[in-house]
């Protein structure tokens, strides 16, 4: 009998625990990084939030990078939208205009110690409409060139740092360097994540020619214009004549020590090898015919209006990006806060980088950089350009004709 009462008591306890569990709120945020250092940082911030919000849990759901927006949209279509999501700068126009996101301005303004005025208004432009913020650009990250000095010295070439000192850091000299390393059997220059699919990453090259895929208002295709034709001819030549960039279907990883240089964002510094490191450097993008330039990738976090816990999710977003946490995130994701874009603060957040690297790549980059091109209805436009560009990725391609064909194909899509 006694046993039975014990059992009953235990059962009651379990049941009440179960009920308490059911009252718990779990916020789900989809992200495209599965990097352990990134996740550890996010989980630490979430744990701090859970301290002040008992019963609330935050999980980070890593989706595959190259199909991220497709998967996210399919989750939304399937009634399985996350509470919060990272959003690429290129699909910002789609998400901000759709009405799928909850407005954030009020929550951010009301958050204790948030100081929304500290956020550079220019960084918010892409993420706002009608004076209302719909997503927060937690990362405003310039593209730079990671360099493997060991490989370059082995090829008997001056390092990019030396070229910069001489004022000779141009695309011609960069490709020359890359070709020399490639001739030694390693890969030359890799535009990371491009892989002949995600062509928008080539903006890190063609912006040096002053080129853009479409006009600022998004209505006219400028792929066939002279700057783009010159830039693409240069890229084609670098791949197929000079062999300075890996050809289609050839894979190489800079961070495994397989390549001389890679163009990517500073958040990828977390991929640098911790054992047997090579002598690496981070330098700004080389100057193109149109002079010095910088390119920024932005990543926003939005809260879905359809979420049952939209208010709480917005509160977490405000917590995650408040001045204290923004300083922590700055290790990988440069914050849009004016007060934090100083060499001191960024250097403290990011022990991997030197003060000079932070100055020349991060701070100058954010000050002068252009954001990668986005558009409404991007998925379809992106695929059309990708399919069209395939004709350019063969040795004897007619690049100008390819670009003209792409314009004919995407012009109706741009005009919509």
């Amino acid at each position: 009998m006694k046993r039975l009462t014990h059992l009953l008591a235990a059962a009651t306890l379990l049941a009440s625990a179960g009920l308490a569990g059911a009252a718990d709120v779990n916020l789900r945020m989809t992200i495209w990084s599965a990097n352990k250092s990134h996740l550890d940082l996010f989980n630490a911030i979430a744990a701090d939030f859970e301290k002040t919000h008992p019963g609330v849990g935050v999980t980070f759901d890593s989706l595959a990078f190259d199909s991220y927006t497709t998967t996210l949209t399919t989750q939304i279509a399937g009634g399985n939208a996350p509470d919060l999501a990272w959003i690429f700068e290129t699909s910002a126009p789609d998400f901000v205009a759709s009405g799928a996101l909850a407005p954030l301005t009020e929550t951010l303004k009301a958050a204790p110690g948030y100081d929304l005025d500290d956020v550079n208004p220019a960084t918010l432009e892409l993420w706002s409409t009608g004076g209302e913020i719909y997503a927060y650009p937690f990362s405003t990250s310039p593209f730079g060139v990671f360099v493997n000095n060991d490989l370059i010295k082995a090829a008997g070439k001056p390092t990019p740092a030396e070229l910069i000192a001489e004022g000779k850091w141009t695309w011609d000299s960069a490709v020359d360097l890359a070709a020399a390393v490639a001739a030694n059997g390693k890969a030359g220059l890799i535009v990371r994540d491009f892989d002949y699919k995600l062509w928008d990453n080539l903006a890190t090259i063609w912006n040096g020619w002053g080129a853009a895929p479409w006009s600022a208002d998004g209505r006219t295709c400028t792929m066939a214009d002279q700057p783009m034709a010159d830039a693409m001819a240069f890229i084609h030549d670098a791949i197929f004549e000079k062999k300075a960039m890996p050809a289609p279907g050839v894979s190489a990883d800079f961070f495994a020590g397989d390549a001389a240089m890679t163009i990517t964002q500073i958040s990828r510094a977390s991929l640098l090898p911790k054992e047997n490191p090579f002598d690496w450097d981070l330098v700004p993008l080389p100057a193109g015919p149109a002079g010095k330039y910088a390119v920024i990738g932005q990543a926003g976090i939005g809260v879905f209006a359809s979420s049952k816990n939209a208010a709480l999710a917005a509160e977490f977003l405000a917590f995650m990006t408040n001045p204290d946490n923004a300083a922590k995130l700055a290790a990988y994701f440069p914050p849009p806060r004016k007060s934090q874009l100083t060499t001191d603060i960024l250097a403290k957040a990011n022990p991997l980088l030197t003060a000079e690297q932070i100055d020349t790549v991060v701070i100058d980059g954010i000050a002068t950089g252009k954001v990668k091109p986005g558009h409404t209805g991007l998925a379809e436009i992106h695929q059309a350009v990708r399919a069209g560009l395939d004709a350019a990725w063969v040795p004897d391609a007619d690049v100008p004709a390819t670009l003209a064909a792409i314009c004919r194909r995407i012009e109706p899509l741009l005009a919509r």
């Binding site: 990084s33 599965a34 990097n35 759901d61 890593s62 989706l63 595959a64 990078f65 190259d66 998967t71 399919t74 989750q75 279509a77 399937g78 009634g79 399985n80 990371r192 994540d193 892989d195 995600l198 894979s251 990883d253 990828r268 991929l271």
Partner: protein
């Protein structure tokens, strides 16, 4: 054409068979051996037919990077449920269409046959919205219900019907005279005789479910509910580059068990498939 072949012709035929076998066997062999090699050896030429150095770390990574055991279980239980369910549904309806004269049986059989003409790809969008309304997106229900009851099961019904039509009627007649009910006759007499046809249905259905790719990609979006084919394509590093050796290890784990079952039971496979009634 069953004449004794001359020794020379035999030699030629063996040679031809061996050459022809290469594209059927080499990919599987390469997959299994490469999954045990260090990454740097995978693209070495000539490929080592047997790894010179073994590196099993990729097998550990398969389970570390994704809930692979869970995904394996998902695929296995879905395939098992779908196979059992299809065998049941198809043998009932195949038997009825073959042996029972019920009102409208011809018209209804035509209705069922439309399933052969409408590939599930045609109806994927409305099915997606229907399952969305029923709250079954990101669950396994669409991968179970549609194959058992929808278009994919029609082929199985067709195979069962062809078999039951060819079955001599005397056995059943005797049982009917003895007063056995239809259900009893079906369950205790007809179905046990239908083993070869059931084997064919089981093999086809299992492979169909095991290989299903478009549907999981459309319906499922969380790694913990993924099925194997879908999981295999997700072995990419944090930023989208494929992880070759890990992908190969996962592919090996996916392919090998079914292959082993097949090698052990290959006689039943081939005989069962020959009984699909497709002989004309």
């Amino acid at each position: 054409m069953k004449t004794e072949l001359s020794p020379r012709l035999k030699l030629v035929l063996y040679g031809l068979l061996c050459v022809l076998a290469v594209p059927f066997v080499f990919p599987t062999w390469w997959m299994v051996t490469s999954s045990m090699k260090p990454v740097s050896d995978i693209f070495a030429f000539p490929p080592a037919l047997i790894p010179t150095t073994y590196d099993f770390s990729s097998y550990a990574d398969v389970f570390r990077l994704q809930p692979f055991a869970r995904q394996y279980f998902n695929s296995a239980y879905i395939a098992a449920v779908v196979t059992a369910g299809t065998m049941l549904v198809a043998s009932f309806s195949g038997y009825a269409f073959a042996r029972i004269r019920f009102p409208g049986h011809n018209a209804l059989f035509l209705v069922v046959l439309t399933g052969l003409l409408i590939p599930s790809e045609v109806t994927i969008v409305p099915l997606f919205r229907m399952f969305l309304k029923w709250g079954m997106i990101n669950t396994h229900w669409p991968l179970i219900l549609v194959p058992i009851f929808g278009a994919p099961s029609v082929f199985a019904t067709f195979v069962m019907r062809q078999f039951f039509i060819a079955l001599p009627g005397e056995l059943e007649e005797a049982a009917r005279v003895d007063g056995l009910s239809r259900l009893k006759i079906f369950w205790t007499i007809a179905l046990p005789l239908a083993r070869p046809a059931l084997a064919a249905v089981a093999i086809f259905t299992f492979l169909h479910s095991w290989n299903l790719y478009l549907e999981p990609v459309v319906y499922l979006s969380n790694p913990s509910v993924f099925t194997l084919p879908q999981a295999l394509t997700q072995y990419v590093d944090a930023y989208g580059g494929p992880m070759w050796n890990i992908q190969l290890a996962a592919a090996t784990l996916t392919a090998l068990p079914v292959l082993l079952v097949f090698i052990v039971a290959q006689k039943h496979f081939v005989e069962g498939l020959a009984h699909t009634g497709l002989k004309g």
